[in-house]
Amino acid sequence: MDYKLTTPFTRESLKNLMQGDNVYITGFMYTARDAAHKRLVDLIDNGKELPIDIKGACIYYVGPTPAKDGQALGSAGPTTSYRMDAYSPKLLDLGLMGMIGKGMIGEEVIEKIVEHGAVYFGAIGGAAALISKSIKSAEIIAYEDLGAEAIRKIYVENFPVTVIIDSRGDNLYKRGREEYLKRKMQRKEEGKSNMED
């Protein structure tokens, strides 16, 4: 299924999404990678205020290239998500509802996703020039010293993602592969090589 969604997210707005669905996101979200996550969690551990509005927020795991003239942000594809596993459960507990990255995430994070009705989305890894087109504005709001890894508030229009882990904990990496292999096996038994239809 294809969906259009706006940020901030709520449990309600995410509950119908299923692994494999294509979603086009419009609204504000934040960019952050490991270095910024570490600082956010240090703040939480010390009982301090976060520089971002975490309730219903969506974080995009990305470290973009510098913008050329006329671009809001340079090339901006997802980075590998498991590096944020150590930090994301704490952010989910505080109200984070969406994460966008690539690659598998840990069991502990998935449990938190299910607990809070959040969703983990995948953007196409390496399709950074294409993805950049849906980013309309970008502003550094924290940790400028981290350069590409600074936290930016970005405005996106129809930002293309796929649901990897839905709010029930179902997993596209597992399901997609199983379905493909099952189909392939069936075809083989039927003596056909073509998988079309």
Partner: protein, 280 residues
């Protein structure tokens, strides 16, 4: 004897790091288009279409195809009759990177110390491999290597008794463990033989070989074909969403080794396989 100006090397490196990031090599584009043609799983087709479209956008708008503009790896073949004037060749290379990453709007992704992790802010230094060869030419091969795929690479010192089957299993196991992380479709570079450090270099060199080439030794060329087929039977598919095209190519390089050993290294690259070559 032939004299090459270090400034010339700087200029070439600058040009190559920018072009490598903007323009996908033709052999990789061809491999993607072929994969698209031969993949009949709808999800895979959609993703391959988008990856091809991304490469076209990067090309026409002259922007980096991927935000991970990589750490630069350089392979030099220096003819023993070549003399470099106006500076040290290593400095000339790093200066080219410094300029290229600034002027080309490329991301600076190198930290100066692996533990303290402070960004060098100019993407230097490069990892430079020097080789002295006969002749009076200087051959420079530049790869920009993303770390989503580099992080999924592995090395194992197998026992000779593990044999060919052990090598095959290790390759498949590495691709399986990498799963969706290295942005499939991937390119698999395999090194077999040599020593502990040699085998990883072989796997990196395998990644630099064109995707439409095969190992000159028919035994290893057949192994490349067989392993590509088996990798693509795993079902991981583009982006790990399931499908046929897990890899575009498996390239293998080998070297003599010790009677007691069978080293094997698997270096993984993503669909943004970026390299450039020039001979001065």
């Amino acid at each position: 004897m032939r004299i090459i100006d270090a400034n010339n090397i700087t200029e070439e490196i600058k040009r190559m790091v920018i072009e490598a990031n903007y323009f996908l090599p033709e052999d990789v584009m061809k491999a993607l288009e072929n994969a698209r043609k031969n993949d009949d799983w709808k999800l895979s087709q959609d993703i391959l279409d988008k990856i091809i479209e991304n490469a076209r956008i990067a090309d026409t708008e002259q922007v980096p195809m991927c935000q991970d503009t990589g750490m630069v790896v350089v392979f030099l073949k220096i003819g023993q009759e070549v003399i470099i004037k106006n500076g040290y060749i290593g400095d000339a290379i790093n200066e080219g990177i410094r300029r290229g990453y600034e002027e080309g709007y490329l991301r600076k992704s190198v930290v100066g110390d692996p533990i303290k992790r402070l960004n060098t802010n100019d993407n230097t230094p490069a990892v430079i491999n020097y080789e002295i060869v006969p002749g009076d030419k200087l051959n420079i091969m530049v790869a920009v290597k993303g770390f989503g795929s580099e992080n999924m690479s592995r090395l194992k010192m197998l026992k000779p008794s593990d044999g060919l089957e052990g090598v095959k299993d290790f390759i498949l196991e590495t691709v399986e463990l990498a799963g969706s992380n290295p942005c499939p479709p991937i390119v698999v570079g395999v090194g077999i033989g040599g020593t502990f450090e040699k085998v990883t270099l072989l796997s990196k060199k395998a990644l630099l070989r064109d995707l439409d080439s095969y190992n000159e030794d028919p035994f290893y060329a057949d192994l490349e074909r067989e392993m590509l087929e088996r990798v693509n039977n795993l079902g991981i598919g583009p982006q790990g969403f399931g499908g046929r095209t897990t890899a575009l190519k498996v390239n293998i390089e080998y070297f003599p080794t010790h009677i007691a050993g069978l080293p094997v290294a698997v270096n993984i690259n993503c669909h943004a396989t970026r390299h450039k070559e020039v001979t001065l």
